[in-house]
Amino acid sequence: MAVGSAKLIEIINLVANDIQENKDFLTQLDSAIGDADHGINMSKGFKAVTEKIAAMTDKDCGSILKTVGMTLVSTVGGASGPLYGTAFMRAGQAVGTKKELGFDDLLLILDAALEGIKMRGKAEKGEKTIVDALEPAVEVLKSSPVNLKLLEEAVKAAKDGVEYTKGIIAKKGRASYLGERSIGHQDPGATSCYIMLAAVHRALSEKSS
């Protein structure tokens, strides 16, 4: 895998597209246990991202990822703004001025993103958040040299993580006010994280097929 700046922008656009397609689903999940705006907020944020990065094909990968983060923190509005914003900004720092990314960088990116989200949200696994999808995925990627097959397993782990959020009590955000009543509902943040990881996998599969 060799992802240059143009391909990176393509991948992010695919992520944006999948968020857009799942907008109503994410909002529906959020209306059950949150403030019913996750889909709308994410869609607004990624629409702005797509416009912002369109002309960045000559920029390095770190700058592109940082721009994604900076755009999300000022356009999303809800908690996913600072959370995903921090994730992308940390990811950008992690790859620095590289103009081409490989599978090892994918681990760097997702590990930095996970650390950023945990720091910003002061969250750990098991609290019904993005972390429940992202951490298992990163753990899979750390288990052996990263390739497309391992990424597929990581996406599967994220999906299992989303399922896992159905059975636990929300400890963070608006859903935490519901206490035990949050059980039975899957976490919107974990879901959007899974959607994004699945989009990245799909984008990379298309490339190598």
Binding site: N41, K44, V73, S74, G77, R174
Partner: protein
């Protein structure tokens, strides 16, 4: 008794809320009580008028209000806290270390902090006044 000289800098207050209406309403009530000597700014809602918070808007308001004595940010909840933390991280010195975030009830904290700031108190004292409102009795 504290005697204020005209032109003495006072700690500024930023109200960070998901709702512009809520933050402006809070500011309206506070201003009625203490007048307009304390700089109170609202950083609330998104640029397209949805409920939400915006890191850059908070940063911009801090810079508008800052005049040397520091700025206290009062967030409502959730993303307001995270966005305010991010805004502080992205500020440069000397503003950064003189911008603090209060862990207090939104309205009670805002009015107590503004009152304290109007007396010319330090940033630490203003923050403490906001945070001391937690658990305050409303009914005697």
């Amino acid at each position: 008794m504290i005697v204020l000289e005209w032109g003495d800098a006072l700690v500024g207050i930023i109200l960070v809320s998901h709702s512009k209406k809520m933050a402006e309403g809070a500011k309206e009530i506070i201003t009625q009580v203490i007048g307009d000597k304390v700089k109170i700014e609202v950083a609330a809602g998104t640029s397209d008028n949805r409920l939400g918070t915006d890191v850059f808007l908070i940063e911009q308001k801090v810079l508008e209000v800052f005049d040397g004595d520091g700025v206290l940010i009062i967030p409502d909840l959730g993303s307001a806290v995270m966005s305010a933390e991010m805004a502080i991280e992205s500020l440069e010195e000397p503003v950064r270390s003189k911008t603090h975030l209060a862990d207090s009830p939104f309205f009670e904290g805002a009015i107590a902090a503004s009152m304290e700031a109007s007396f010319g108190k330090s940033l630490e004292e203003v923050k403490k006044a906001a945070e001391n409102t937690r658990g305050m009795n409303k009914i005697a």
